[in-house]
Symmetry: C2
Subunit: 200 residues, 2 copies
């Protein structure tokens, strides 16, 4: 008896994937605002009501992988090897998270077309940033009034956003190389900044 997920679980996963796929297609075709839940439901062959048992809101369909990314980051930070700093973990995490597949490129276009979605995307990074702030605060043994974790985390998230929005990359390989260079710059920057505060 393999302990694989049963029919029920597999079916749910399939339905979820279908909803995401058809929703992204419709968003790309008619725009996010121009697509209704009813249309997504019809294309996915479920009832509109069912959509909301898979996703808490229409926006959550678009940002379907954010919670998973958040969990991965939390795990990467908490399970980091002895001696590894938050910055070390993040370097690997950012590179590993960069994906240039069709769905992601499509989503990038969809979000670019809508002012509100750009704001939403930014807002959805906040939980990730909070994780980074806490982890860096631990590294630096920072007190509650110490502003350094927040500054460092903000800079890191900005770098992350910059490399993942970098849409003119000619190839995935180039994109990763470029991202690595950017991240090294940011880490140098942060080390220099922290050093400057230490010397005061």
């Amino acid at each position: 008896m393999e302990a694989g997920p049963g029919l029920r679980e597999r079916k749910k996963q399939k339905t979820r994937d279908t909803i995401i796929r058809v929703a992204l297609e419709l968003f790309a075709e008619r725009g996010y605002e121009g697509t209704t839940i009813a249309e997504i439901a019809e294309a996915a062959e479920v009832s509109p009501r069912t959509i909301f048992s898979y996703f808490p809101s229409k926006e959550d369909i678009l940002f379907y992988d954010m919670t998973e990314t958040q969990d991965r980051l939390a795990r990467a930070l908490s399970e980091r090897p002895e001696g590894a700093t938050t910055l070390d973990v993040l370097r690997g995490f950012i590179i590993g998270t960069l994906t240039r597949d069709h769905a992601h490129r499509m989503r990038h276009c969809i979000i670019s077309d809508d002012e509100g979605l750009q704001r939403s995307k930014r807002a959805r990074f906040a939980p990730l940033e909070r994780l980074v702030v806490a982890s860096i605060a631990q590294d630096l043994q920072a007190g509650p009034d110490d502003i350094r974790p927040q500054i460092v985390a903000a800079a890191l998230m900005a770098a992350f956003a910059a490399v993942s929005d970098d849409d003119e990359a000619p190839s995935e390989a180039y994109s990763q190389e470029h991202a690595l260079a950017v991240i090294e710059d940011v880490l140098s920057f942060l080390r220099g900044g922290l050093q400057a505060l230490r010397e005061r």
Copy 2:
């Protein structure tokens, strides 16, 4: 003949102020989600439909001063004196923008109570950050691939957010002093970071 605004304009301003005031009171009393447009309209003695001719959305009532702040920042950056850097301008701007009046404190509580509003608040800082990015890019004569402006701007915005969220300040004077200290730290940090990149 003084060229003051006519009755029409004064009345509009008054209505706008009333809407903001009663909305904040209701939000504080019953929470943001627990308050409907209809209730705000009734308390402000206008029709629900009229609310939407003053504010594009319910959230915009809460963040009524963001567009004004954005305009002020844009002006401060574009009209800066010869030789002043973006960082110089921002130091003054942040200090000048810190306010601890009743409405702001009330809003802070309202936002703290609601997960979604915290995300929204963060998202609404994006336009400010874009202004800062552009201004810093100009200062640094940065090319399009240069990540420094985004990092520096993100760190500055994080500092701004930190000092304006600093709600346990015993007094406005203390709060300003504390903010100044934080900002000086951030500026040292940024100078150190930029220096480190220059030396590579």
